[in-house]
Point group: C2
Chain length 275, copies 2
């Protein structure tokens, strides 16, 4: 007998993965949460039927949402993650010796609990002394903290359900306020193949708030289309004129100094989305 | 009623596409050939159950297998394509005004026939006066032509069935002989996520024959993992020191001068495969 989990990534295309057992399944206050064992990608966290992270390919997303902004800022000390309850982004943040404090604000405590229990290679840094995990609404948290953070990562689910408010110009304005005067932020902004109008709209919204706005890409096999985008808004530092030679070497499997630059080199059809 | 076509890309993961009608299906002398209508990607050519090309995303593969080598060579006049019976690579080659002659050697005439009939936006250049379409074994053709071509593209199916011999060091040696003294070639070399030992082996084999060997990447949603590799072997010209300013501007949707360079910037785990 073969079991396959299929995510419909759009109405008309999906990814299908051969599975072992379903390790955990529950309806939380915010979403349907499942933790399943897949033969290709190891353990997989699924929220509302959508792949969030897997043991085998999580390194790509977590490295790219973290190291691009943290190597753009010359001296990031205080960092905020909105969402990201699996802990992978926090794990990468703590590789930067300049970071003194990392705050994770996750709305759904069950994501943190299940990740701590079943995804130890991803959640391994959530109990570090430099980390505060807050279970609350990221939008309210950002609104209530001004001039606090060097870097903010919006490590959200797709713009349906609990994450809708994280793809809105009001939120980007609150992010701007929560950052220090030379701060910057990055948000995951979906697939250039399947979410092109979202990418255009988010880019324009961030551009209306931040003087420097740049989109970059990476390849993630379990995410729709395999090509994923992040959009950075920055008050002062430009990601392509960063001086990396004085930075610590960190251990990565995807990110390199060359990838830092080439990730901003966009296929023509993606460039065209941002015009 | 919903119909879905699923390709098992490995034993444990697949892509599934909502389909309209099956336009054509036959068992050719070499493989199972199907032409199906998909809602996400338009018409899709499938050989032995594996997606070859679709109307919506074919531009990526065809631009990247073509423009990277043709912009690396300073003056490509005579070009050979092994495989590629759908005609997309030929269409891109003819965008280069220096090209006087393009030879396509496809083993399966049914691929050419079906593409001409049902995929006119891809096969549109196969009847151009600069093009010769030969229905024969690409390996024998390469063995029988010495010192003939400026650039060769190996636009093959996966290394199972009719294409096995196109992933072998003997074939790369014959390619070397078929190229002029400053010639170069490129082969599609599968996914760095799912075919990592193949990529390592092919890279080493090409490196044993050519003084310059370089791997580059692009993102193709319908190919396994979404990340696809090409390996270039070159006798003289290096793809990263190419002077593009004297080249004609060509109309593309993926390739740009910046992508030409950034495509060679590899994620760390891919760099590690080539060591």
């Amino acid at each position: 007998m073969e079991m396959w989990f299929t995510e419909k990534q759009t109405e008309n295309v999906g990814i299908t993965c051969k599975t072992g057992k379903t390790i955990h399944m529950e309806k939380t206050e915010y979403q349907d949460l499942a933790l399943i064992d897949t033969l290709q990608f190891g353990k997989m966290l699924v929220l509302d039927g959508t792949v969030q992270t897997t043991e085998k390919d999580e390194f790509i997303y977590h490295e790219m949402i973290t190291h691009v902004p943290l190597f753009t800022h010359p001296n990031p000390k205080k960092v905020l993650v909105i969402g990201g309850g699996d802990g992978g982004t926090i794990r990468e943040i703590l590789k930067h010796p300049s970071v003194e404090k990392a705050v994770l604000v996750e709305i759904d405590n069950k994501v943190v609990e299940v990740s701590k229990k079943y995804l130890p290679t991803i959640s391994c840094s959530l109990d570090d002394s430099r980390v505060s995990v807050l279970i609350e609404d990221g939008i309210k948290y950002v609104q209530n903290n001004k001039n606090e953070f060097d870097v903010i990562m919006v490590d959200s689910t797709d713009p349906v359900g609990p994450a809708v408010g994280l793809f809105a110009v009001d939120f980007y304005q609150a992010i701007y306020q929560a950052l220090k005067e030379d701060g910057l932020f990055v948000a995951q902004t979906e697939s250039p193949f399947y979410n092109n109008s979202l990418i255009s709209n988010v880019y324009r919204d961030i551009q209306s708030v931040f003087p420097i706005t740049q989109l970059y890409l990476c390849s993630i096999p379990t995410y729709p289309s395999g090509l994923w985008s992040f959009t950075m808004g920055s008050k002062k530092y430009h990601p392509l004129t960063v001086e990396q030679s004085n930075k610590a070497e960190i251990d990565t499997k995807y990110y390199t100094k060359e990838i830092h630059k080439s990730a901003f080199s966009l296929p023509k059809f993606v460039e065209d989305l941002l015009k």
